[in-house]
């Protein structure tokens, strides 16, 4: 982890004013990058490389990336070491990554480490330079004020400070964005080509996330602050054992485990994960949406808790035996990683089968996985599949106004987009209807399910077409694509909710 330069102590200039006028804080952007630990990424890359079967080309690529990393890395060892050998065993074992792919993952990780180290090395001096300039201007301002200099002189000094801050922000943001694109591309490549989902990098890859160890501590603290006393009171109250009391006992057990420094690291981490799932559900609000699987953190935590309960008890009718809490949590973690890998691989393959070039398909997935547009397309379910289809349909329709944006890409890909847009939209909506009919067959309430689904489909079509047409009118194909998808997904969600409320109001 690098040492980020904080804002300087200024007497006459206000850091808050400089940040407000620049539209952001260059110190924060730099700090989030410097929290990344490229040495940990590089060590993991080395471990994968050593465990894999290398061709001479793979070895050359790895060595080239290693040299790039070493040329930019001059810091101490990071604070969040990754258990490299355990992660390699996990990838080769439960994730089923092949030996030849292990080497490729190693090269990808090494290149990622090099890119992060290079970016860190570039941004830190820029912020340091800004600090020096600001301190100089602050001193000049002090002199000007004590000399009762003209107002214009004072204003010019203040404006110079604002300009320097803004320019530095633009520069470090551009570097951060460049690294983010590299990171997303590497993640997509590893999932799509190598079958490995590098979730272990969270918090050390410099994208602003919280490291796993810190996340565990935060989860434990949050539980202690908000629920532990109530759980203890429920357990101490006596009386017969109820499901709520059993859950409370389990959480207290997890709290003890996660705060026991003598406990095995895996047990502490898994216990903290269960507490964090509980915290998220208790908070009750959807927050961050996973860009790949498309589920909100609330839904994800809710489903994990439900599966945790069911699998701990076992499902005899399906031949599933009961398991320990830690075994179930580890199983859920693996399933999630594999779901990300499968979603990425299937989406890339689906785009290729539609005739896109492999590079075009990979780039599309890269691009879409940074936003929200492809999320449920990847799982071949409902709204986003329709949404993406509508967006593509709008994009290609707007093409008739001028081929500004799509002209730049491969013409064959443009043609595929047009065909795909028409088909995907229909498939998405029909799938939506099909899922509803399947749900009804399996016991879901008829009226409410039909009403909600109809509302979602109708709202998606209205929003997708309307917003896409307006976007296309102004912004060309790119605007039509983005706004068409946004309109379709937003209209779908709002339509489903609105019609559900009408249904509940009408049926009392």
């Amino acid at each position: 982890m690098g040492t980020a330069q904080p804002p300087p102590n200024l007497r006459y200039l206000s850091v808050a004013d400089l940040i407000a006028s620049a539209g952001g804080s260059p110190w924060d952007v730099n700090a989030s990058l410097q929290r990344g630990e490229p040495d940990q990424v590089a060590e993991l890359g080395q471990a994968f490389h050593d465990a894999g079967l290398c061709t001479s080309q793979a070895s050359e690529d790895f060595q080239a990336a290693r040299l790039r990393f070493l040329a930019s890395w001059d810091r101490e060892t990071g604070q969040h070491p990754i258990d490299d050998s355990a992660e390699v065993r996990h990838a080769a074992g439960r994730m089923g990554v092949q030996l030849s792919q292990l080497a490729d993952v190693g090269t990808e990780l090494e290149e990622l480490a090099a890119a992060l180290a290079e970016t860190q090395r570039l941004t830190n001096p820029q912020v340091g330079g800004l600090n020096a300039v600001l301190m100089g201007l602050d001193a000049s301002l002090g002199i000007a004020l004590s000399n009762r200099s003209a107002r214009a002189v004072v204003d010019r000094l203040r404006e110079s400070a604002r300009t320097a801050t803004r320019q530095t922000l633009e520069s470090v943001t551009a570097l951060r964005d460049g690294y983010s694109a590299t990171l997303t591309a590497a993640m997509t490549h590893m999932r799509a080509l190598d079958g490995y989902s590098p979730d272990v990098l969270q918090g050390v890859d410099g994208d602003g996330g919280v490291p796993e160890a810190d996340q565990a501590r935060l989860a434990t603290d949050r539980y202690a602050d908000t629920q532990r006393a109530a759980d203890q009171a429920l357990v101490d109250a006596g009386g017969p054992m109820t499901p709520a009391k059993q859950d409370a006992m389990n959480r207290l057990r997890d709290y003890v485990t996660s705060t026991n420094e003598a406990a095995p690291a895996d047990a502490r981490r898994l216990a903290a994960e269960r507490l964090e799932d509980f915290n998220t559900v208790r908070q009750g609000q959807p927050s961050v949406t996973d860009p790949i699987l498309g589920t909100s953190s609330y839904d994800r935590a809710n489903q994990r808790l439900e599966w945790q309960r069911r699998l701990e008890q076992g499902i005899p009718s399906m031949g599933i035996a009961d398991r320990s809490a830690d075994q179930v949590t580890a199983l859920l973690d693996d399933a999630e990683q594999q779901a990300k890998v499968l979603a990425t691989q299937r989406t890339v393959k689906a785009l290729e089968q539609q005739g896109m070039s492999p590079a075009g398909a990979m780039a599309a997935v890269d691009h879409l996985s940074q936003g929200m547009t492809w999320e449920e397309l990847a799982t071949f379910t409902n709204k986003a599949s329709g949404g993406l289809g509508d967006g593509l349909e709008q994009a290609t329709r707007a093409e008739s106004f001028g081929r500004h944006v799509l002209d730049a890409s491969n013409p064959a890909d443009v043609e595929v987009l047009e065909r795909l847009g028409k088909r995907l939209g229909a498939v998405g909506y029909v799938l939506d209807a099909g899922l509803a009919l399947n749900a009804i067959e399996n016991g879901a309430p008829v009226g409410e399910t039909l009403a909600k689904t109809g509302g979602g489909i109708g709202g998606g079509m209205l929003g997708g077409f309307g917003l896409g047409a307006l976007g296309g009118s102004y912004l060309g194909p790119g605007g039509a694509l983005v706004l068409g998808v946004v309109g379709s997904i937003g209209g779908g969600i709002a339509g489903e909710e609105g019609v559900e409320k009408v249904y509940q109001w009408a049926t009392g």
Binding site: A436, N442, G454, G459, I493
Partner: protein, 240 residues
């Protein structure tokens, strides 16, 4: 919880009859076959046949499969499938053809050029779409607690009215392109939304007026429709 795996697990306790499952999956299979035929179809007539036979045929089987849950379920399922398939055809394709006439929302598909007031849409159609979105927004806000989804509905409505207003202002067109019936409905629907969509329209309209009007070229077609009167050629002229 929608259609998540947990819901599926909960519903697994219900055991529909075997014939129902067979019919439902047959219906889905027909959808898949229809979808494949649609992708492979070379010309519009073949696409149209694959679309209607595949999706309505499969939907009919799936609807009959739900008969064990009562006639309401069957009728409702048939209505949902019809709504989806007809709606999609009207919104996004040229497949809806009745008596030799093609019904489609898109001016480009109908006429061969984007001759609508709002690019690909005529003014009446665009404003009916906005009425639909505003109705969803009104239902979200008037009939229950205000949630993030309600906020999303209001934002979506306001973005639509603002985009329309900006376009009207910039092209020096009349307010709402003369679509006063739809505008009255939008105003009514905006009441539970604190009037935000109406305010968004007006502000954007004024902002659009302060911008220079668009030059000719890419927006020629849309500029022609600025009076709210599009120029429809014979039906089906642009059918592809």
């Amino acid at each position: 919880m929608g259609h998540g795996v947990i819901s599926a697990a909960q519903w697994a306790a219900v055991h529909p009859p075997v014939w129902s499952k067979a019919l439902l999956y047959s219906g889905f299979a027909v959808w898949v076959i229809g979808g494949i035929a649609l992708v492979r179809a070379k010309d519009l007539s073949a696409q149209r046949r694959a679309y209607w036979i595949g999706f309505l045929g499969g939907g009919a089987l799936a609807a009959v499969a739900l008969a064990f849950r009562g006639w309401v379920a069957t009728a409702g399922a048939a209505a949902l499938v019809a709504f989806t398939v007809v709606g999609y055809a009207y919104f996004f394709t040229s497949y809806l053809k009745v008596g030799g006439r093609v019904f489609t929302l898109s001016e480009r598909r109908r006429t061969g050029t984007a001759s609508g007031a709002y690019g690909d849409l005529t003014a009446p159609k665009m404003w009916w779409i906005i009425v639909g979105i505003a109705a969803i927004g009104a239902a979200n806000t008037a009939l229950g607690p205000w949630t993030w989804k309600s906020t999303l509905a209001v934002v979506l409505t306001a973005v639509m009215t603002a985009a329309g207003g900006f376009d009207d202002g910039r092209r020096r067109a009349t307010v709402v392109r003369g679509q006063y019936v739809q505008a009255a409905l939008v105003i009514l629907a905006s009441v539970p939304m604190w009037g935000i969509p109406v305010a968004a329209y007006l502000l954007a309209f004024v902002a659009g007026r302060m911008r220079p009007p668009p030059s000719s070229g890419r927006h020629d077609a849309t500029a022609r429709g600025a009076t709210g009167v599009p120029h429809p050629p014979p039906d089906g002229a642009g059918e592809r």
